[in-house]
């Protein structure tokens, strides 16, 4: 496991090109543009695969057909011009309209052609309407249902991951200075506990802090009824955030510290670090300039991997803590067999992941001087 962190650092063979674009800005812009195009193609293929998987059982077709049926029925029933028709005639009219609408949308076309249409819809976030679920504002638009949940997810992922990341990097840095100490050994001993996912620790935390001690809530985002003044409201949310965030942090902090510690130890045994120490530089300066700076690309790429792994792991943590984020929406959608929502959240996940990858690639390009156009996309 820990070896992954180092292999990420294997430098891509640096192709040194002397050309007009030698300024950092141009280099980074070019690199980012290439990355963006690659990622976009990747996302398109990923979403297409998702649609293929979802449609194998004909579910996307069902979504479309249901939508057409509902829309045409509603429009004909609501139209005053058709009010005088007999029910049979109305039914016939509805069937005719549905048939023509299905033809218009290409549902009678072969799947290969149709899937392209689904792809465009998905990529433009035209996700259709939910079958059973509604957003808190009563909308059945899948896009609105999902966007409404995004802030809660970001609050949980953002707070816990940032805390996890910075705590482990700085603790590891401190530990690498005095390895072999009691704390160091303690961290090594505890690192196998990271084998369990966050929701698993969540169960224990709920048991201890909510069920037995009764000092923190079982789950949810705010109390019911929520506090009226906004300061209390924020405080209340923080109180609900403690347990899920703690579960996420505890589930990976020991392994994370251990890996970083090993990583920093390897970096601090380099000759130039010894040299800097011999020159008599203060330990802080050695750390900052000779250990942290060269390991920055690795730190960042590891951060990307962390974000990606944890993002997917939150479905269950949110479910266990009744945290109203994207994850629990997905969970409820499974319960309702609400296919548009399941497909929709898959697409949102794909987008968020791609966005994370891109953003971190961009930062990576900023800090890694080896990045050159032409060899940039091989990492």
């Amino acid at each position: 496991m820990s070896t992954e962190a180092f292999a990420e650092s294997a430098p891509s063979s640096p192709v040194v090109k002397k050309s007009f674009g030698d300024s950092t800005f141009v280099r980074v812009a070019k690199y980012s543009a290439i990355r963006l195009v690659t990622l976009m193609i990747t996302v398109v293929i990923g979403v297409y695969l998702t649609i293929m998987i979802a449609n194998m059982g004909g579910y996307v077709d069902t979504i479309m057909r249901n939508e057409i049926r509902q829309d045409t029925t509603m429009s004909i029933l609501a139209n005053p011009n058709y009010r005088n028709l007999t029910p049979e005639a109305k039914q016939e009219l509805i069937q005719k309209k549905i048939a023509s609408e299905e033809k218009r949308l290409g549902l009678n076309q072969p799947f290969a052609v149709r899937s392209m249409r689904y792809l465009t819809n998905a990529l433009t976030l035209n996700l259709g309407r939910a079958i059973n679920m509604t957003s808190d504002h009563g909308s059945k638009e899948v896009r609105l249902i999902l966007l409404e949940r995004l802030p809660a997810t970001l609050l949980l992922t953002g707070s816990s991951e940032l805390f996890l990341f910075f705590t482990s990097v700085f603790t590891a840095l401190a530990l690498s200075r005095k390895y072999g100490s009691l704390w160091d050994k303690l961290i090594i001993t505890f690192s196998p506990t990271s084998a369990a996912p966050p929701w698993f620790y969540g169960i224990f935390f709920i048991l201890i802090f909510a069920a037995v001690l009764r000092i923190l809530p079982f789950g949810g985002l705010v109390d019911s009824p929520p506090p009226t003044n906004s300061f209390d409201y924020a405080l209340n949310i923080l109180k609900h955030l403690i347990l899920p965030a703690m579960a996420v942090v505890v589930s990976s902090i020991f392994l994370s510290i251990y890996q970083w510690r090993t990583f920093f130890l390897i970096f601090s045994s380099e000759d130039y670090v010894e040299m800097a120490k011999a020159k008599g530089l203060p330990p802080r300066a050695v750390e900052r300039r000779y250990i942290l700076r060269p390991s920055l690309p690795n730190i960042i790429s590891n951060f990307a991997l962390l974000v990606i792994t944890l993002w997917t792991g939150f479905t269950i943590t949110e479910t266990v803590f009744l945290w109203p984020g994207l994850g629990i929406t997905l969970f409820r959608a499974i319960g309702f067999y609400d296919t548009p929502v399941i497909v929709g959240s898959t697409i949102i996940y794909a987008y968020l992941l791609a966005f994370t990858v891109f953003l971190l690639d961009f930062v990576y390009a900023l800090v890694d001087p080896r990045v050159k156009v032409g060899s940039g996309s091989s990492q």
Partner: protein, 448 residues
């Protein structure tokens, strides 16, 4: 052989490796025991069974060893029947050759501080036309005798002590259990401890007629593992979940690491478009939300654990580790022994499978062992999401059932903790062994 011996000797120097291996061996033992004692179809039948299979158990009963930790001893459930000889049955003929008396009895020591939940008699009989007759008595340790019931026996008769209205009237209380078990001389209504006896006198009126009795005692506690909402003995899923968890974890870990390695080796060896394709697929796979796809497959197609296993392997092959393997293979490819193999004309496949991959075994083994827990937990995660295998008893299913029933809100901690502790032990075992293996096979880690 010597390499293996050396590895084992190295392993023995790590306490975590010894501990981890001990856990894994113990789990394997439990798995084999479960598979041998409970056949697959029987496990599924029991797990899917309702009241007809599990009627003898109380609902929501914590395990019997709870009494060790509590000052107030709660009654432990049991069951006794004439058919297996645990209940005595004495048949005495009378002057009429057609009439027999059957004395059926069972006495037990009651050492608990609270009365039980319920007692039941399941009486079965065989007869041609004349129904047998039975009278039931209850004898307390201080010698009092209660007349419980006198009844005609059908082919299947169920008698519930606390729901019998005649008995309630006779005892002048609705709380039959309290009336039968309290000490009449105690002012606080304490339970009288000592030897109780249930005695059934059956009279059959035909020569081949027979009565069999099953006495079911529902206490507050049950067995080694307790029971759930559906009266199922949790020992079954705890035992049978072991081979399933191990099989899922090991197969997924093995499949994923081996296939990843082979694909990485092929990619690096051939290079060019093969390598590029593999890298692009890895990129796409990174964007695909792993859990969401798994959830879709589970929702739309089938929740069978083996399908899930297949999809898991498929989605994990092109993961982050393929990048690691690739960069190491790139270095190995340039090694002189590979050049030598090329020079003597070895085929590409021979080089890949006989020279490149074996070289990676030291890296493969720790990674493989360390990745087992994540797959074991993945199975549990899927079950918690309601995507567990519908027919198999697994640890995750217990947690899912408990969670759905609000076990933690209602302080039924044993229900969640038992599978959770087993999951944790499994995870720890493999993680600790993997950790030690990592340090042995990658000496760079050992130095620091």
């Amino acid at each position: 052989m010597t390499a293996l011996k050396k590895t084992i000797r190295d392993l023995l120097r790590y306490p975590s490796a010894i501990f981890g291996s001990a856990i894994i061996i113990a789990l394997l033992g439990v798995a084999v025991y479960a598979l041998v004692t409970i056949p697959y179809s029987e496990a599924v039948r029991l797990w899917r069974g309702g009241e007809d299979v599990w009627y003898q158990n109380p609902k929501y009963a914590p395990p019997a060893w709870f009494n060790f930790f509590s000052a107030k001893k709660k009654p432990v459930s049991f069951l006794t029947r004439t058919t297996d000889g645990s209940m005595t049955k004495v048949i005495t003929p009378s002057s009429d050759p057609q009439i027999f008396t059957q004395e059926i009895g069972y006495s037990f020591d009651y050492i608990y501080d609270t009365p039980p939940q319920e007692m039941l008699l399941y009486i079965t009989s065989q007869f041609e036309a004349k129904k047998p007759f039975a009278s039931v008595r209850w004898i307390t340790p201080d010698g009092r005798t209660f007349r419980i019931a006198d009844m005609q026996i059908e082919r299947d008769t169920t008698f519930r002590f606390s729901q019998d209205q005649k008995l309630q009237k006779r005892l002048k209380t609705e709380d039959v259990m309290r009336a039968l078990f309290t000490d009449p001389n105690s002012s606080t209504g304490a339970v009288l401890k000592g030897q109780y006896q249930v005695a059934i006198t059956g009279t059959v009126f035909e020569k081949d007629s027979n009565i069999d009795v099953e006495f079911v005692f529902h206490g507050d506690l049950f067995g080694l593992a307790g029971t759930d909402k559906y009266r199922r003995d949790l020992l079954l899923p705890l035992l049978y979940g072991t081979p399933i968890a191990l099989a899922f974890g090991l197969l997924a870990a093995l499949g994923t690491s081996l296939l990843t390695m082979v694909i990485a080796a092929i990619g690096t060896w051939y290079g060019g478009w093969v390598d590029e394709l593999i890298q692009r697929i890895t990129g796409i796979n990174l964007v695909l939300p792993f859990l969401a796809i798994l959830i879709m497959v589970g929702t739309f197609y089938s929740r069978s654990i083996w399908l899930m296993l297949g999809v898991t392997i498929l989605l994990s092959i092109f993961g982050g580790s393929i990048i690691t393997y690739r960069s190491i293979f790139l270095q190995t490819k340039e090694a002189s022994y590979i050049e030598a193999a090329r020079a003597y004309g070895a085929s590409s496949w021979r080089i890949i499978f006989s020279y490149l991959i074996p070289r990676m075994v030291p890296l493969l083994i720790p990674a493989l062992v360390s990745s087992v827990p994540s797959f074991v937990f993945l199975e549990a995660s899927l079950a918690v999401l309601g995507l567990g295998d519908p027919v198999l008893p697994t640890w995750g299913k217990i947690i899912d059932d408990a969670w759905a029933d609000g076990a933690l809100y209602q302080a039924r901690y044993y229900w969640v903790l038992e599978p959770a502790v087993l999951l944790m032990i499994t995870g720890l075992g493999f993680a600790m062994l993997g950790f030690a293996l990592d340090r042995i096979f990658n000496p760079r880690l050992r130095e620091v």
